[in-house]
């Protein structure tokens, strides 16, 4: 649950928009000390219903502070993109701030900011969300802003060109001008065969350049329908009144035909894949190893998530102690499984110290994987992960915006927002034998993809 993720989703603003695919607040059952009654778990009250137009609504009252957090999560992400249109879901997310029937270009951002709120949107492989946290008395404003753009987006060529530029700067900022910036894209491209996850969410410059107003209009019609979205609201409101307002703003937005299903099947990988890339900005070699595994919220996924924490979670983890401390070969090590609707990646990531032999470090990692396969893990290790999960869970719930986003993600990914209250129980089911089994089943030589990023010899500096 302490997620490190290589592959990012992309957002509207720097700072706020970077959401890793795995920052998932999983809710909080309790540790079960053998000799004690289970501690009461933190439970989030949830009310769910569906409007006549198919918009799913999830409400969770919390009167601790006079704020409300609203999140609209659409069931569309870069996994829905076709070849030649990479990056479009994210570009479209930016267009959602460029004006609608009753909201001017940029006005959404200005109104939320001027009234003290937080606002952003993020696009990932599996979903796109839009959210704001505002003073409780601005609930109408927030609902109006979200409903107006779901009902009638208003776009023109100048605004498309403007945001195309902005998104291309985002690509340069996060990828093209950064050390290891391209590693994530290359890794996904190599590891996946299915186009859905194979291509990057940020997309290519060429595809971004080719995006047209007609594409924007079609995408809006296909994916931004109320029946393809979940609205989550957390905070200081009374449920009947909030529901009345939500109906008023959203219920007359017409439903659309269901969006086309996405084939997420991934052929079985039969041989190791491997490449080496040179990076102009990197100063140290970096090794990435990934294995395609299972979708999130499945029994094996929970076992792999715990395995990830045993190997990579925190300074007491096996590979931190082995590579950073014991052998002293790595500057940093991280990893674990990400959360996806389709086959997720179990990842290992190491930044090597200068002069270290990448092949040798790679062997040390496999050695530890083999150790798990052969000797398993201890009950104490699992207990440590469970209590850490309980901590992370409680921390993530302190923030209403986090809660709204998590509810939306669980609703869209797994049709179960109540996972916020139940998913920790799934970790409690995992036994040491399960960890050993999933290590054997998913971390095989033929199943892995390895990318080594090495510093490119530097050009002479200008004078």
């Amino acid at each position: 649950m302490r997620r490190f993720k290589i592959l990012c989703t992309f957002g509207l603003f720097l700072g706020l928009g970077i959401m890793t695919t795995g920052i998932v607040a999983t809710p909080r059952p309790e540790p079960r000390p053998a000799d004690a009654a289970p501690a009461p778990s933190v439970q989030i009250p949830i009310q769910q219903l569906t409007l006549k137009n198919g918009l799913r609504v999830v409400l969770s009252e919390d009167h601790a502070a006079p704020t409300v957090s609203l999140c609209v999560t659409f069931d569309v992400g870069s996994r829905n993109e076709q070849p030649g249109h990479t990056g479009f879901a994210h570009l479209f997310e930016h267009m959602m701030f460029q004006g609608s029937q009753n909201v001017g270009k940029g006005e959404h951002l200005i109104l939320v900011r001027v009234n003290g709120g937080d606002v952003n949107g993020t696009t990932g492989d599996d979903s796109t969300n839009y959210y704001e946290r505002v003073p409780a008395n601005q609930l109408d404003m927030a609902l109006f802003l979200e409903s107006d753009r779901m009902r009638a987006l208003r776009i023109n060529q100048a605004n498309l060109d403007n945001q195309r530029n902005t998104v291309q700067e985002e690509r340069r900022l996060r990828i093209d001008n950064q050390a290891y910036g391209r590693t994530g894209e290359i890794l996904e491209d190599l590891a996946y065969d299915n186009f859905a996850y194979k291509h990057s969410t940020m997309g290519s410059m060429a595809d971004l350049n080719a995006a047209s107003l007609a594409d924007v209009a079609q995408f809006f019609k296909t994916y931004y329908a109320p029946n393809n979205a979940v609205l989550t609201l957390v905070g200081d409101f009374k449920t009947p009144e909030a529901l009345e307002k939500i109906r008023k703003y959203f219920e007359d937005i017409p439903a659309q035909p269901a969006s086309p299903p996405v084939d997420m099947t991934e052929p079985v990988q039969t041989a190791e894949r491997r490449t080496v890339i040179e990076d102009s900005f990197a100063r140290l070699p970096r090794l990435d190893i990934v294995y395609k595994a299972v979708p999130g919220n499945t029994p094996d996924w929970y076992a792999l998530d715990m395995l990830g924490d045993i190997l990579f979670g925190g300074t007491s983890s096996r590979l931190y102690q082995k590579l950073v401390k014991g052998k002293g070969v790595a500057l940093r090590v991280a990893g674990g499984i990400d959360l996806r609707r389709g086959p997720a990646l179990f990842q290992a990531f190491v930044v090597l110290k200068p002069g270290q032999d990448a092949e040798g470090v790679e062997k040390l990692i496999y050695e530890e994987f083999e150790h798990v396969k052969t000797d398993g893990v201890t009950a104490a290790e699992l207990e440590k992960i469970r209590i850490q999960n309980r901590l992370q869970q409680a921390k993530s719930l302190t923030n209403t915006l986090n809660r709204a986003r998590t509810l939306g993600r669980y609703a869209v990914y797994f049709h179960d927002p109540n996972l916020i209250n139940t998913s920790l129980a799934n970790y409690s089911e995992v036994q040491p034998a399960d960890i050993q089994r999933v290590a054997r089943q998913y971390l095989g030589e033929a199943q892995r993809t390895v990318v080594l990023t090495i510093p490119k010899p530097q050009a002479a500096p200008a004078r």
Partner: protein, 507 residues
């Protein structure tokens, strides 16, 4: 639930009310700079229902007590979640007090606290903290006079993990083997830092603004890292970790009444020391503008960062500068963002920032822009900086900025951590007990004249230090239009040959 942020909705003043729905007062003069991009204008339709009321806040006050050894304890109870957060803020133990030839000593001392104590090894500490459902870390950030030790965890194991935090704070042994490992990681980490354009920009601007003052230092050097010994760390810890200079802030699921007697007992062994905290005086602002160019071959963007030294945190001009910053560049409704991103499409984001500490900090402005528009971006930055000096901020735009600052402050109180941070700030700067209660009114009282006065006083393009990180082959000539250019390398030192060229002064 004991912690309840008390807030009420009150009618805001008529001016602010109008501001919430009025146009920003964007200048219309900024169009047509780049013919390749059609005009994409921010537009306000004013049809969204906006409540005219604004939150008025009264912060919960932490329980405060000074222990016999001088530790200033602040406890804020919050029983919503089974969590506790603890922060030791140890003034005098931060990098500002480091000897000039030892950058990184304070940071190394802090980071090695949890790598071994008299009774626990590094690995035992890591295992125990993780197994208790807690986290523990310590740091001493460059530019700061304090070292910070933070621990957080589940409330049902609080006493155990607090005991660990106390152990690493009071009984670290700085084992030679752990220090050697730290050194072998810290040096390559410097290399990594220098691959990041933002780090290079910050490093260069800090040196330009602060010269020989300790705040100029933003990282260790390979030499200073190599020279560290366990004895030096132990000595720094001995002399600079003093209870009488420490704020201990605890928030979360604890009971102050029962915790305070325990704290007296747990922390009694920490003896007062003779550590004195003599704050070094800051440098005067620069009198001449200059442009620094950090060559990063292959860059596809230019990272710009510019600024002047401005004020200390306790300066009476602080509220006016906060409002100025909101108008100029603090967020997505600010002039820089709307102009350079939303209208010009030069960037993913440009912002301005006000840094005010115990010594004078700078206001800065900057962002990452594609190389080809470096010139256009500089033109727009200067246009906006000059505009806020030369023209009064229109009433509606000013009202919106004030409202934004006040409402965001109110919203920030949702977070217990933020509440405790405000309390620490008040204590650290010796502000009055009602400082934060009155803060919104102070912001609301700022007039257009105040903003213009502080703009003219602190924002000065003629004496501004400007840093550009990018491909020098492509942007050197451009940057020469904006001042004398000095090329510096990734370590922040002047590049060896042909590094100077003369250009026109900033307008």
């Amino acid at each position: 639930m004991r912690l309840k942020v008390r807030m009420k909705f009150l009618m805001w003043t008529a001016a602010a009310l109008a501001a919430a729905t009025a146009a920003t007062g964007r200048s219309q003069t900024n169009q047509d700079q780049d013919k390749s991009i059609p005009a994409s204008k921010v537009e306000r339709l004013n049809r969204a229902p906006v409540s005219k009321e604004i939150l008025r806040v009264k912060l919960p006050r932490p329980v405060e007590v000074t222990l016999p050894n001088g530790i200033n304890v602040m406890i804020l109870e919050d029983h919503r979640f089974p969590l506790v957060t603890v922060q030791f803020d140890i003034d005098g133990a931060g990098p500002l007090y480091e000897p000039a030839n030892q950058p990184g000593l304070a940071g190394a001392t802090a980071q090695l606290l949890d790598e071994g104590t008299k009774t626990r090894t590094s690995r035992q500490i890591a295992e125990q903290i993780d197994s208790l459902g807690a986290t523990l870390s310590a740091s001493a950030g460059f530019g700061s006079g304090a070292a910070i030790l933070t621990a957080s965890g589940l409330s049902d194991t609080f006493e155990q993990w607090f005991g660990l935090a106390r152990d690493v704070l009071l009984h670290p042994t700085f084992p030679a083997g752990e220090l050697a490992q730290y050194q072998s990681r810290a040096k390559p980490a410097l290399l990594q830092q220098r691959s990041q354009p933002n780090f290079l920009a910050n490093q260069t601007l800090s040196r330009a603004l602060y010269g020989a003052y300790p705040a100029a230092v933003v990282s260790a050097t390979p030499e200073s890292i190599d020279s560290l010994t366990p004895a030096m760390l132990a000595d720094w810890h001995d002399k600079h970790y003093a209870p009488e200079n420490t704020i201990l802030a605890i928030s979360g699921d604890v009971r102050a009444a029962t915790l305070i007697p325990k704290l007296r007992q747990w922390l009694a062994e920490w003896q007062r020391s003779k550590a004195s905290v003599n704050f070094p005086a800051g440098p005067p602002p620069a009198t001449q503008g200059k442009v620094y160019l950090v060559d990063r071959p292959g860059s596809v963007q230019t990272t710009l960062l510019m600024g002047n030294l401005a004020i200390k945190r306790g300066d009476p001009d602080f509220p006016a500068l906060v409002v100025l910053n909101e108008v100029l560049g603090a967020g997505s409704a600010s002039r820089l963002f709307l102009n350079l991103r939303e209208e010009k499409g030069y960037t993913y984001g440009v912002y301005s920032n006000l840094i005010a500490r115990k010594y004078a900090g700078p206001w800065t402005a900057g962002g990452d822009l594609r190389t080809e528009v470096t010139d256009g971006a500089m033109t727009e930055f200067l246009r906006e900086l000059n505009r806020i000096r030369d023209e009064k901020v229109p009433d509606d735009e000013l009202g919106a900025a004030r409202r934004s600052v006040v409402a965001r402050f109110a919203l920030s109180l949702e977070s217990p951590q933020q509440l405790i941070d405000y309390a620490i700030t008040r204590k650290a700067y010796k502000f009055r007990a009602d400082y934060w209660d009155k803060y919104p009114a102070q912001i609301a009282a700022i007039k257009a004249d105040d903003v213009q006065r502080v703009a003219k006083k602190y924002i000065n393009p003629a004496t501004m230090q400007v840093v550009a990180v990018g491909d020098a082959n492509k942007i050197k000539t451009v940057m020469e239009k904006y001042g004398t250019v000095e090329i510096v390398d990734a370590s922040g030192k002047p590049a060896v040959e042909g590094s100077k060229s003369t250009g026109a002064g900033l307008q």
